[in-house]
Amino acid sequence: MNTNQELDSVGIETNDLSLWYGAFQALFGVSSRIASGRITALIGPSGCGKTTLLRCFNRMNERFANVRVQGDVRIRGRNIYDPDVSLIELRKAIGMVFQRPNPLPLSVYDNVAFGLRIHSPAGGAIRSQEEEAVEKALREVFLFEDIKDHLDRKGTDLLLEQQQKLCIARLLPLKPTVLLLDEPCSSLDAEGTEAVENLLTSLRGKYTLVIVTHNMAQARRISDECMFMLNGRLVEHADTAALFVTPKDKRTEEYIEGRYG
């Protein structure tokens, strides 16, 4: 049984987690403890299962047919695969950001207010409270000052980097504990990448962030911990600095040195 202190320090825990897409096994007995409030990067070659693992954390894989999951994923001590877990509540608590920014074809304001409205009881939040929450979220992602006079602009008309920030902002009013990011900078240029990385760094401590990245330099720059995966298995999980200087496993070493994949 976990103590409360342990629950507070562990953001996400997986125990012997395996996953199959039909007959194909994509994850093999992954056991891990992802630290709360830190940025953890999932790294590994294409097809190693890192995105699959990320999607297990909000049960996103269930959208695909023939997916079978074994083992458990615990967030604050609770197995999110228990039958009585509400998917709606789960996805409120665990936000996700994708490779390409995907704002809704609505105004910037409505994009951020959207989640709040659909998750609020009938009648919705009072307008003033809603405005406050929208401003707070946009400030938290450093977007408010840039677009405060254009909140009625379509979210899809913003710069890509701003769109990605908007996609992060719209998760925040729902007060998530975990943010899952699947290559959030892969469609951005160097400047946009830096802006989003700065944003992620500023969210450290407030949320548990898990980021899938192909970019080793990015993993080194922004993550506190790294998990190296290979062929559906978790090979090594360590503090980023330790993993990039003194990896314990030969396979990790070969991958980060560019000798593999």
């Binding site: 990039f244 990896p247 070493e253 980060i256 040195e257």
Partner: protein, 229 residues
């Protein structure tokens, strides 16, 4: 890109090994000069000193270039960091051979105080340690590096023994003090060269295993060698 980097790394390692071979030859020539009691035999050491300085600059420059171009991590990063450290150790070793030449110049002004028995033994072990530490580097073998570290006690013992013996000469004949002092300093230089070989061996352990074994007493482990006497 990776292939180019591997080729560059191999070339850099070879250059460091050539530098180490030069340092070893300097110790051999220096020892020969002492045994033959002939300062003229020191000439090649002087020439090599300039070569060593050039090696040091070139190797550091190439290391910086490789770090800047390839942003190495893990084993590559540890290798490059240790190459610059070993490079500096080798340059110190060359400096110690130059010191020995300087002491010999004064010492050779008088007749030999005593036959040199312990000094050639010290020189032999020290050269063996240097060779061993570079073999360990070349083979990335931490066990070989640890074997070098274990040899250091022998050199320390010989150094202590030389010191005690020379003190008896000085007590018997105070006029022998200058020659005795030069010999003490020469023995001390060999002992320092052995210490640099130990440093190289420690660098190799870090390079291979990522484990810093210097100053182990800090971590509460057993002190590595004897306390300096």
């Amino acid at each position: 890109m990776r292939r180019q980097f591997d080729e560059d790394l191999n070339r850099l390692k070879e250059r460091l090994l050539t530098m180490a071979a030069t340092a070893e030859q300097m110790i051999r020539d220096t020892t020969n000069m002492l045994l033959e009691w002939n300062l003229a035999l020191f000439e090649p050491v002087r020439t090599s000193e300039t070569t060593m300085d050039k090696f040091q600059r070139d190797i550091d420059e190439e290391t910086v270039r490789l770090i800047a171009v390839h942003t190495p991590v893990a084993g590559d990063l540890r290798l490059l960091l240790m190459v610059t450290r070993i490079n500096a150790e080798l340059e110190h070793i060359a400096d110690h051979t130059m010191d020995i030449g300087f002491y010999a110049k004064t010492m050779f002004k008088g007749p030999p105080l005593k036959p040199l028995v312990d000094l050639p033994r010290m020189a032999e072990i020290t050269m063996g340690m240097l060779r061993g530490s570079l073999d360990a580097f070349s083979a990335a073998a931490s066990d070989k590096a640890l074997a070098v570290i274990a040899m250091d006690d022998k050199v320390d013992d010989l150094n202590d023994q030389t010191f005690r013996e020379l003190m008896t000469y000085v007590l018997a004949d105070p006029k022998a003090i200058t020659r005795a002092l030069e010999l003490v300093l020469i023995a001390r230089s060999y002992e320092r060269i052995a210490d640099h070989a130990v440093n190289i061996a420690e660098d190799v352990v870090y390079m291979v295993k990522g484990e810093d074994i210097r100053h182990r007493e800090l971590a509460g482990a057993m002190p590595m060698g004897k306390a300096p006497s």
